[in-house]
Amino acid sequence: MADGFLALNLGFAMALFALGLFAVVAKESLIRILLGIEVMGKGVTLAFVTAGYALDQLGTAQAFVFTIIVIEVVVTAIALAIMIRLQHATGRLDIRAMRRLAG
């Protein structure tokens, strides 16, 4: 039972991660990219909890999960601030509007 449960969890975690990654690679709207990053983070979190359960170190895994949650909040806050600035500066939320560093 345990093996199937682990495989299911890890498979779901990978699927979440892949979904998020797809959004980050393929979407042009900053909002969608941020959502993609968040979804990737959820996949990683799930993988941590599963690994902690499998290795019987749930405490350690939870410590990492809390850390991830805190970092995600910070990332979201900063990303939203950047988006507001970008909207003010260019009038759109398209990452193509942020190419001024292109060589």
Partner: protein, 588 residues
């Protein structure tokens, strides 16, 4: 466990102060100054009380990352406790001196909240560096010291030269910091070493130990400004003079000497490692002393003299003379703080750092003049000042261990040291005044600090007995013997080096007074020697060329940057896939 609380207090009081001072500064400038002084005083007292807590064994204060076996461990032995005490007390004196010295900066629009916060952070990080046994904590404090030096060297941020100097200090010491990181990672991955006390040559493969030794050596060369990475220290003179005193006496440059002394018992067996220290130290001592003679800038003379004195200490560690090197570190800290702070008073009074624009200040600033003279006498090694005892011990130790060539280099350096010190003293305080306006001795807090340091420079050698006994008692792994004052005196007289500095000091004084003016004129007009020194013995030119090449190649690679987030992330993804494939196939 009773006294260890002082060690913890000594580390965290200044770190806390660094956070509190800017907050108080929002309310009132006066309250902020008082807060900074208060935190400095608490720190100084705590570091002195830490000397009561010395013992050979590490103490676990806090189980930091239990799954990796990493804790916040302190090791309050004499080596670390003295480094901490020097940082705490001299740091406090610098804060007091800053009260009067930095007032003008506030009027020019530089934030003194930032200044005091960084100074306290600097002191706290240095104390932590000295007391940490845990390598991770040591690394964090080490990097914090580097960060603070960068920020404080470029404190006058509207001056392009100051900004460049800060950047140069950061970039050059970074080379050494990478060495430290490599050493720590190598030790951890090969032997699971997470503390200094757990560093034992027996348990680590020889090649890994060699890599770590090289890393530590590089780190020390960078931080303690040894050849060929010494170029940042003279440029760092763009900092406020108080910061120069702090960097040269209490913090920063002592870290490298401390690191090699700390790791000496484990790495001594490598053979090439002590040899490298000996040669790097003695060559640095001579090169820096020769550079100091050609400098027209008072602060740069002192900067080169620090590099030179650090060379003595590094060479002494290479000779296995831990006691002599650390005792010279104490002497150097005191007389260099004195010299810098006296120079600060002069520079503020005259308004220039150029020694050709000073002169004749002996009668106008008697206190600064006498303080500077005592500093010079201590640095040259005139008997009954602290520099004499420590330098003598150091030279004796190098000779006694049979290293004749480095010993001769160091003796020649003693001669050059005497020459450039007399030259600086003569140019600044004697002759006819070469500046307009009146110069007066510094206001009271500054003068009080000068008086304290003058007294310390004349008497700190009396501590030799307790100093060596504490070291011998708390550092069983190190080659340290307790040494009383009388025994030290006998040893100094017995070895031939005993009378050498005396003779050369007299000789070089004669040399400067008799032939100085003609030589001086040629230096000023830019003789070949002066040009060589000003190019940093060609090293600066080399580093500049290297930096330009790097910038050029970066420009050329710019066209690969699309600026498109999707493409960048896809690139990261591709990179991860490659790494995973390589790891799976086991190609590496």
């Amino acid at each position: 466990m009773t006294y260890e609380v002082f060690a913890v207090l000594a580390i965290f009081a200044p770190l806390l102060g660094a956070g509190v001072v800017p907050l108080v500064g929002l309310a009132s400038r006066r309250a902020r100054d008082v807060t900074a002084i208060a935190f400095g005083l608490v720190t100084a007292v705590a570091t002195l009380l830490t000397l009561l807590a010395v013992g050979p064994d590490p103490v676990r204060v806090y189980a930091w990352i239990p799954i990796l076996g990493v804790g916040f461990d302190l090791r309050v032995d004499a080596l670390g406790a003295f480094i901490a005490a020097i940082a705490g007390t001299i740091g406090f004196l610098v804060v007091v001196y800053s009260l009067a010295y930095m007032r003008h900066a506030e009027e020019e629009g530089y934030s003194l909240s930032r200044y005091y916060a960084l100074v306290l952070l600097f002191i706290g990080a240095m104390i932590g560096l000295g007391l940490s046994d845990s390598l991770l904590a040591f690394y964090i404090f080490w990097e914090t010291v580097g960060l603070c030096s960068f920020a404080l060297i470029s404190f006058y941020h509207r001056d392009a030269k100051a900004r460049r100097a800060g950047l140069k200090a950061f970039a050059v010491t970074r080379v050494g910091d990478i060495g430290l990181l490599v050493a720590l990672v190598a030790l951890w991955s090969a032997g699971g070493v997470v503390t200094f006390s757990g560093l034992d040559a027996a348990g680590i493969p020889r090649d890994i130990l060699g890599l770590a030794a090289f890393g530590f050596l590089l780190a020390a060369i960078g931080k303690s400004a040894q050849v060929p990475l010494h170029v940042w220290l003279p440029d760092a003179m763009e900092a406020p003079t108080t910061i120069s005193a702090l960097i040269h006496a209490a913090t920063m440059v002592n870290a490298g000497v401390y690191l090699v002394a700390r790791t000496f018992p484990a790495l001594e067996a490598l053979g090439w490692w002590p040899q490298a220290l000996l040669w790097i130290g003695s060559i640095t001592a001579l090169v820096a002393a020769l550079s100091a003679y050609a400098e027209p800038d008072l602060k740069r003379v002192l900067a080169y003299s620090t590099v030179s004195q650090l060379g003595y200490m590094v060479a002494a560690v290479g000779a296995g003379a831990i006691l002599a090197s650390q005792f010279h570190l104490l002497s150097q800290a005191i007389f260099k703080a004195l010299l810098f702070l006296a120079a600060g008073a002069v520079i503020q009074a005259v308004g220039t750092r150029d020694m050709y624009g000073m002169g004749g200040l002996r009668t106008k600033m008697p206190l600064a003049s006498n303080a500077f003279l005592v500093g010079v006498l201590a640095m040259v090694g005139i008997p009954l000042f602290n520099g004499f005892w420590s330098k003598e011990l150091l030279l004796d130790a190098v000779l006694e261990h049979g290293f004749l060539a480095p010993f001769l280099l160091l003796v020649v350096t003693t001669f050059v040291t005497a020459a450039y010190s007399w030259r600086a003293y003569w140019l600044v305080f004697h002759g006819t005044p070469r500046f307009a306006g009146a110069a007066r001795d510094a206001p009271r807090p500054m003068s009080a600090v000068l008086v304290i340091l003058t007294g310390a420079a004349a008497t700190s050698w009396l501590l030799l007995g307790p100093y060596s006994e504490t070291m011998a008692a708390t550092m069983p792994a190190y080659p340290v013997e307790p040494l009383g004052l009388i025994a030290a005196g006998v040893a100094i007289l017995r070895w031939p080096s005993g009378l050498v500095p005396l003779a050369v000091a007299g000789l070089s004084a004669y040399f400067v007074f008799r032939y100085g003016p003609r030589f001086e004129r040629r230096l000023r007009e830019g003789s070949a020697y002066a040009r060589l020194v000003r190019s940093g013995f060609l090293l600066d030119a080399m580093y500049n060329a290297l930096a330009r090449r790097l910038a050029d190649s970066a420009q050329r690679l710019r066209s690969t940057q699309t600026g498109d987030l999707n493409i960048n992330v896809a690139g990261v993804l591709g990179g991860i896939v490659v790494i995973v494939v390589v790891l799976l196939l086991g190609v590496v």
